[in-house]
């Protein structure tokens, strides 16, 4: 695919490097000579100097032939304008990084009115990932679909779990919340479970649903015994704000320690319910005062890697069960892991990874009717997103009356931003977004799920 990346900072560079090795044609646009020189020497990509929101520069980059335009400069506004102009000039898909909290509630508007295909907010993505780490400590992997509305959590079945050796059709009646079992990985083989399937210990199961439903499901499994209730966040960055919002929605108690007085006041304006503490997060006395030993989880999110490391090490030493820290410099990762801290968050890395995932999903779906195609479970299964078109064989028919293929499963339906985890009585309507889980290489069109 032809991809134009505007902004050659850390995210842009990581993306360009990765995508060029995946055989895409990359063009990097940036204003800085040094950035371009470095990119030109190390990446097989075209480098253009200039303002990415200028029509002339975008035309030089052959925007009319571009499959994806990714705007990841430091400025939100520039990114948005760049994508709007790019779309008008013929780019097929646009991705913008928008990180300012002021815009965080306007993503729907941005996506619809500015026709952005993906709006990515590094701090928000990072906070979502941290929330997942706190919420599903036993999950082996968490994937999100349909613009982060739906999650799929993979976990290993234990012999003590109440779902073992029960037929799936009986199990479904007893579930506390609306989740769906989508995939089972047993001895390196992937199954799409249907009514008569029973789970064994050591299977790796994927369940799909909304975040809260999955959370309730885990509670039902009894996996939440060591789930965090009290969280201390060190550093009042944007990530902290997003994280606090998510955690409070999950009914956790959150404290934020921030060193800058003015920032504390600002935090207090935004997070009126949260306890904000003015103090130095690396100061052990401050931490002790806040009862660090009885805290379930510490998240170190200051802007300085070294401070995060010191706070985390102290928390780890005090026996805090879950310690999560933000590290920007990738070269620190091995050192930090060696110290016993393995929950590391790097917002830029996450951003790059999520955009990569989006690009790959688009690339996988080229030439077929799928909108996005995600490969999961070591590429052994696929999650495909379709928009349903009118079809007498499929739409407005109860799912239990549809004759589906054996290895296909309708995992979720998104109708007007509402999630439906379908049971037999639901129907697919025209314009619904349908999420289908299948084994790899199975379907290329929604109608193909019918036997």
């Amino acid at each position: 695919m032809k991809i134009i990346i505007v902004g050659g900072g850390k995210v842009g560079y990581t993306l360009a490097q990765q995508l060029s090795t995946e055989d895409h044609n990359i063009t990097i646009v940036d204003n800085d000579d040094d950035v371009l020189a470095h990119a030109d020497e190390t990446i097989d990509a075209m480098c253009i100097k200039g303002n990415g929101a200028s029509v002339e520069i975008l035309k030089t980059a052959s925007i009319n032939e571009a499959d994806i335009l990714i705007a990841v400069t430091d400025s939100d506004e520039l990114n948005m304008i760049c994508c709007v102009i790019g779309k008008k000039l013929g780019a097929k898909h646009t991705v913008a990084r928008v990180r300012n909290t002021d815009y965080s509630n306007e993503y729907k508007m941005l996506r619809e009115e500015l026709e952005l295909d993906m709006v990515i907010n590094p701090e928000m993505e990072a906070s979502a990932e941290i929330a997942q780490m706190i919420q599903f400590p036993s999950a082996t992997d968490v994937e999100t679909f349909a613009n982060n509305l739906i999650e799929m959590v993979e976990f290993r079945v234990l012999s003590t779990d109440p779902i073992v050796n029960i037929k799936l059709m009986d199990l479904n009646k007893n579930l506390p919340s609306n989740v769906l079992f989508c995939t089972v990985m047993r001895n390196e083989e992937v199954f799409i479970p249907k009514g008569s399937f029973t789970f064994h210990p050591d299977d790796i199961i994927g369940v799909i649903g909304e975040r809260n439903s999955i959370s309730r499901f885990f509670k039902f499994l009894g996996r939440n015994s060591h789930k965090a209730k009290k969280v201390i966040i060190i550093g009042g960055s944007r990530t902290s704000i997003y994280l606090t919002w998510i955690l409070q929605e999950m009914d956790l108690s959150v404290k934020i320690i921030e060193i800058n007085k003015e920032r504390c006041l600002l935090l207090n304006d935004i997070l009126t319910e949260t306890l904000i503490i003015h103090g130095d997060g690396t100061d052990q006395e401050v931490l002790d005062n806040e009862n660090i030993e009885s805290t379930d989880c510490i998240v170190a999110l200051t802007d300085r890697d070294e401070e995060n490391l010191i706070s985390s090490l102290y928390a780890h030493q005090c026996g805090v069960p879950k310690v999560i820290l933000k590290i920007n410099r990738q070269s620190y990762f091995p050192i930090v892991k060696k110290l016993g801290l393995d929950s590391i968050i790097s917002p830029k890395f996450i951003t790059a990874n999520n955009i990569l995932r989006f690009v790959r999903a688009l690339n996988n779906s080229q030439g077929i009717a799928v909108e996005k195609l995600y490969k999961i479970l070591d590429n052994k299964a696929e999650v495909a997103e379709f928009t349903a078109k009118h079809s007498p064989m499929l739409t407005d028919i109860k799912l239990q009356d549809l004759n589906l293929k054996k290895d296909a499963l309708i995992a979720a339906i998104v109708r007007n931003k509402n999630i439906i985890i379908p049971n037999g009585n639901d129907v697919i309507k025209e314009h619904d977004k349908v999420i289908v889980v299948t084994k790899t290489g199975f379907i290329t069109d929604l109608n193909e799920i019918l036997a």
Partner: protein, 481 residues
């Protein structure tokens, strides 16, 4: 420097060189001439050496700038050493240094020859001799990159080291695709030249030979009288135009076909190139009219051909311009320095550098008059970054230094000054013929081995634009890291 990566690149280049020798072998077999054995031995030896070197494991190390530059210059040296074997083994050129001179002259598209009796050379060797022009014109590493894009890590350095011009750019994001596009344009233009020459009445084999010489801006002919031997104005005009076109930056052809033909005529380098060609033709024609008995059309034809051949550093001849007045010769000598555009197959200092030089002089004068004026040199409306500017100036200075030292060494042979000086200029600019003894009807056979070796070095330095070769003499590069 990581020598393993360099050797691996060398292996790939040698392997492809052996493949590229096969057409010449086929012609020899067709003629059942005496050089078949020489070709067979060379092809097997080169291919074996190449395959052996490609088996080297690089342990995943990446190519960096010094490996890239060293790989290019060593490839050119290795290629020349192997490429000279057919001439030497067959006995056609009995002295090895002469065979090497002829081959380096071929690959660097110089066209300077030491062969005294060219018309008796068998066709297989003639074909190889001219084919080296075609290979060397666009560059053998660019060729290998078009075929195997993943030449280890960061191939952009290979392209930079081999392509002429201060900052060769890519046409499209992928370097492999860029190389392919360059070779497609190059091959298509060569094919058109061949067809035009055949239509104009040149024998088919001769058309190939001269089209290769024209495309690579080399200048090896199979006739002692060069193009003049055909005595055909049509052929002379075709080659005049073709040489001029091969001296244009190839990225302009890409821009031309892609959409923006207007931008081609706005390109400052191209405009300067056209300007000095036209001015050169006009002032020489006034000066040489008496030599042609005031026959304007003949004077125009010969002048246009000579200006085109020298400015693009090809080196064909239709007439012995050594007989022209001194003023014309001085103008021609200046044009030899200027050379063709960057990103073309031509040699010389390159139009873009001349452009930047002139602009620097202009702004320096202005700066002296208005000491507080601020100005950055711009080309095509874009500011030149200081590093590029500095590298152009260093290039020009180093170039002058190398010319001076080479003239001193060659002058040991005690020829007249114009012969000595123009020999060095003709070789470092990859032109071929100079003036007096080395004029278009002359030859390099009379030089001593030391001078020949100096000129060989000059040719490679000129073709690879100094830095990649100079880098080999830095002891640091040979240290293991």
């Amino acid at each position: 420097m990581n020598i393993k990566i360099v050797l691996k690149v060398l292996g790939i280049v040698l392997f492809w060189e052996s493949v590229l020798m096969i057409p010449s072998l086929i012609i020899s077999i067709f003629d059942s001439s005496y050089e078949i054995q020489a070709f067979v031995v060379t092809i097997i030896a080169t291919a074996a050496l190449g395959l052996l070197l490609t088996r080297i494991k690089t342990n995943g190390n990446e190519m960096r700038i010094k490996e890239g530059y060293a790989a290019v210059s060593l490839s050119w040296i290795a290629m020349s050493i192997m490429g000279s074997l057919p001439f030497f083994i067959s006995g056609c050129i009995p002295s090895y240094i002469d065979a090497l001179f002829e081959t380096v002259s071929g690959f660097t598209t110089t066209g300077a020859s030491i062969v005294l009796n060219i018309e008796s050379m068998p066709r297989g060797l003639l074909f190889w001799r001219s084919f080296t022009h075609w290979i060397g014109g666009m560059g053998v590493l660019v060729f290998t990159m078009a075929l195997i894009p993943s030449l280890g890590g960061r191939p952009v350095f290979l392209m930079r080291a081999e392509s002429p011009g201060p900052s060769p750019g890519k046409l499209v994001p992928k370097i492999g695709d860029s190389s392919k596009i360059l070779y497609i344009i190059y091959t298509a233009m060569t094919a058109i030249t061949i067809i035009a020459l055949i239509i104009a009445g040149m024998p088919i084999f001769d058309s190939f030979i001269h089209a290769f010489g024209t495309a690579g801006t080399g200048g090896f002919s199979m006739k002692a009288l060069s193009i003049g031997a055909y005595n055909s104005p049509a052929i002379e005009w075709i080659i005049t135009v073709a040489m001029f076109l091969f001296g244009v930056n190839f990225s302009l052809y890409f821009a031309f076909f892609k959409n923006s033909w207007k931008s081609v005529f706005k390109n400052e380098e191209f405009r300067l190139y056209c300007t000095y060609v036209v001015i050169g033709v006009i002032i020489i024609i006034i000066n040489v009219l008496p030599n042609f008995n005031y026959d304007f059309s003949e004077a125009l034809r010969h002048t246009a051909f000579t200006v085109s051949t020298l400015v693009t550093t090809t080196g064909y001849a239709t007439t012995d311009f050594n007989m022209w007045p001194m003023f014309s010769k001085s103008v021609l000598l200046t044009l030899m320095f200027f050379g063709a555009c960057a990103g073309s197959t031509g040699g010389g200092v390159k139009s873009i550098r001349v452009l930047v030089l002139f602009k620097s002089i202009y702004y320096e004068i202005r700066h002296t008059i208005h000491p507080r004026s601020v100005h950055r040199i711009k080309v095509d409306g874009k500011s030149l970054n200081d590093d590029v500017l500095k590298s152009i100036m260093i290039f020009l200075l180093t170039y002058v230094v190398i010319v001076i030292f080479s003239v001193i060494i060659v002058s040991l042979d005690n020829f007249d000054f114009l012969t000595t000086f123009s020999a060095v200029i003709a070789n470092i600019n990859n032109i071929g013929p100079g003036f007096e003894l080395v004029g278009p009807m002359g030859n390099y056979a009379g030089f001593s081995n030391l001078s020949k070796f100096t000129l060989i070095t000059n040719m490679i330095i000129g073709r690879l634009e100094i830095i990649p070769i100079i880098i080999l003499f830095s002891p640091e590069i040979w240290k293991r890291n």
